[in-house]
Symmetry: C2
Subunit: 374 residues, 2 copies
């Protein structure tokens, strides 16, 4: 994907100001509109704030998933993580949403940790390292409280015996032109990276293989991952499987107010392993919509629309819409200054991380309940 | 590889009249000359007829393997088979030779059955089918009498958990240009085939991984498989392993006197599962160097140099050089006609197959002793 549109978005690179509406057109996905939101609400009795706020804003075939559900065909979910470092709060977004889907629909989740991918796509990264990050990242998944009976986490290199035969079926139907067009590969791309999309496709068909009958699968994931599944969908029927459905989220913004939260820029990213001191320091330095002086801000008010602090609330840390709007209003009126506003979020994030980190500690004893391997 | 040289030779296509001397130049390998033959003889006390007759005629670094051996560093062997059908006697050649090496040097053999390869490279072949041929082909390996303590046969999809992490290290160092240049791939090649050479490379480093120390490895194989290992050798040191050494054999000729014995032309190929009747029929119809009439042949003599029957003797079924020469002489003198000559070989082949097929039956109970899986 080139930068003609003013941004770059592939599964491995996101930069510039992403035009999410443009992505719907370019990728050929459907918007999660009010009708679909209402349909979900009718079935499960509520709408998650990430749907309401259009953070999960785009989909493929989710109406079909609901059709199947209403017919009594339980679907399965699949999502994952590329373990190249610590988990940051942006990664948690689709997982928090998946947890909600699991609670509401009572469905199984398959969670892929792609240690192979991160080894292949990062020249300096050793496989031992990505495997160790995979185990570490699994703690973050478990800490969110997924149902251990219905949640199956696997690390690619430990589950490859099961994944590989499915990946081969996918790989046989994709050629270099296909992956070149979708991912922008060229002749210097390594052959592991060229093959890799087959490994990320395989779990779409894993529930069907494990249960021995056709299981509809929906993938909640960042919109940057859609290219993989576009390829998967193109070939799914040919190899005898249902096409996977998708629910796409917008990517969590960075604390400096530009682009996507990125693990490679730790200063502008909150990791789940951060200490209260880290959080305080990072959020205190975040880009806001405040004025140059307290005096000016009290007079003119701030701009919450461009504020990283307010974005963090909106995307993850404040489920209550009225609360979000209340702070925005106070900001615009000059009734709250950035320091106070930051202090409020710092407290909120640290409370979240305290609970999450406790969960991570407990998760160390629970790995066996969640992790599946060959 | 194009047909500029009047023949095509890749791991997946062999046609035309192969110029084996030309291959040494083009591939940059070394001839197994008298000096190397003598060195082998000095160490183990004899020279196998396939070395003496220059059927195993080319190598890479086999002197280094012998240096290591003489220093007390035991090497390992690796060879394999693409299970797309029944085994034919041409396939047995490098295995018979490997058996001799095992007996003489007391070394371990790792034998790879590439069910994934044959699935990926044959559009109409199902993975279940190639896996089932893999098990069937394993019987042929076992029937040759390899030492069960020192022989480790694996099917890729059953051993991928062990193979995959090694294959990833290889895959990360090979790009599309590399495999395109060596195998003649293009943009329409499927991504599984593009990746596959990494899977065939991995066993070169398997003994090192399993033993936890650097193990020199030599691969006895058809010269058509060399391109895979040329790539492997290029990157081996970079990823911390010894380069594999190679011993290359010429490919067994077809019974119609043209090209290589091919499983896809059953009439001109003897399979290990053939009945005595099959053998009689196929050898009776083989191309020979005989004359148009018995009378003419008694007068002018035949030409054993172009005779498929004589080739079969030379390549596989007659270890005794004097015997081969005796028949050639009789043929040239017109002292033996094709019928008698064929009858003699039919008897020899059927005796061989009788013993081999008995071995295959017994092998069914021995699979557990030879097959390693995850």
């Amino acid at each position: 994907m080139d930068a003609d549109e003013g941004y770059v978005l592939t599964p491995w690179e996101v930069s510039g100001n992403i035009d999410y509406d443009d992505l719907i057109k370019r990728f050929g996905t459907s918007r999660i509109d009010k009708t679909l939101q209402d349909r979900i609400e009718n079935i499960v009795g509520e709408v998650h704030f990430m749907l309401r706020r259009e953070i999960f804003y785009s989909h493929r075939d989710f109406n079909w998933i609901l059709d199947q559900y209403e017919k009594g065909n339980r679907f399965a979910m699949y999502t994952g993580r590329g373990p190249s470092g610590h988990t940051h709060v942006g990664h948690l977004m689709p997982w928090i949403f998946a947890k909600w889907l699991q609670d509401k629909f009572g469905v199984d989740l398959y969670f892929q940790l792609t240690d192979d991918e991160k080894f292949l796509f990062n020249f300096d990264m050793e496989l031992e390292k990505t495997h160790s990050f995979a185990l570490e990242n699994a703690l973050d998944v478990i800490a969110l409280g997924f149902d251990p009976e219905k949640t199956h986490i696997f690390i690619d290199t430990d589950y490859i015996n099961t994944i590989y035969p499915i990946a081969l079926k996918v790989a046989k139907r994709l050629n270099f032109s296909n992956v070149k067009a979708v991912f922008g590969f060229d002749n210097s791309t390594n052959v592991g990276s060229i093959f890799y999309t087959s490994i990320q496709s395989a779990p779409c068909f894993l529930p069907t293989e494990l249960e021995g009958k056709d299981v509809p699968v929906v993938i909640p994931c960042g919109i940057d991952q859609d290219p993989h599944f576009r390829l998967t969908r193109d070939i799914a029927n040919t190899i005898g499987y249902f096409k996977p459905a998708l629910l796409h989220n917008k990517l969590a913004p960075s604390l400096d107010g530009t682009g996507k939260m990125s693990a490679s820029i730790p200063k502008t990213t909150i990791f789940t392993t951060d200490t209260p001191k880290d959080v305080k320091s990072k959020l205190s330095n975040a880009f806001t919509g405040g004025c140059i002086s307290a005096k000016e801000q009290r007079e003119k008010g701030g701009n919450p629309d461009i504020c990283a602090i307010q974005n963090y609330r909106y995307f993850i840390f404040e489920e209550n819409d009225e609360e979000v709007e209340k702070i925005a209003k106070k900001c615009r009126m000059g009734d709250i200054l950035c320091g106070e506003c930051k202090a409020q979020l710092i407290e909120k994030v640290n409370a979240f991380l305290k609970k999450h980190q406790d969960g991570r500690e407990k998760a160390k004893d629970l790995l066996d309940q969640y992790i599946i391997s060959d």
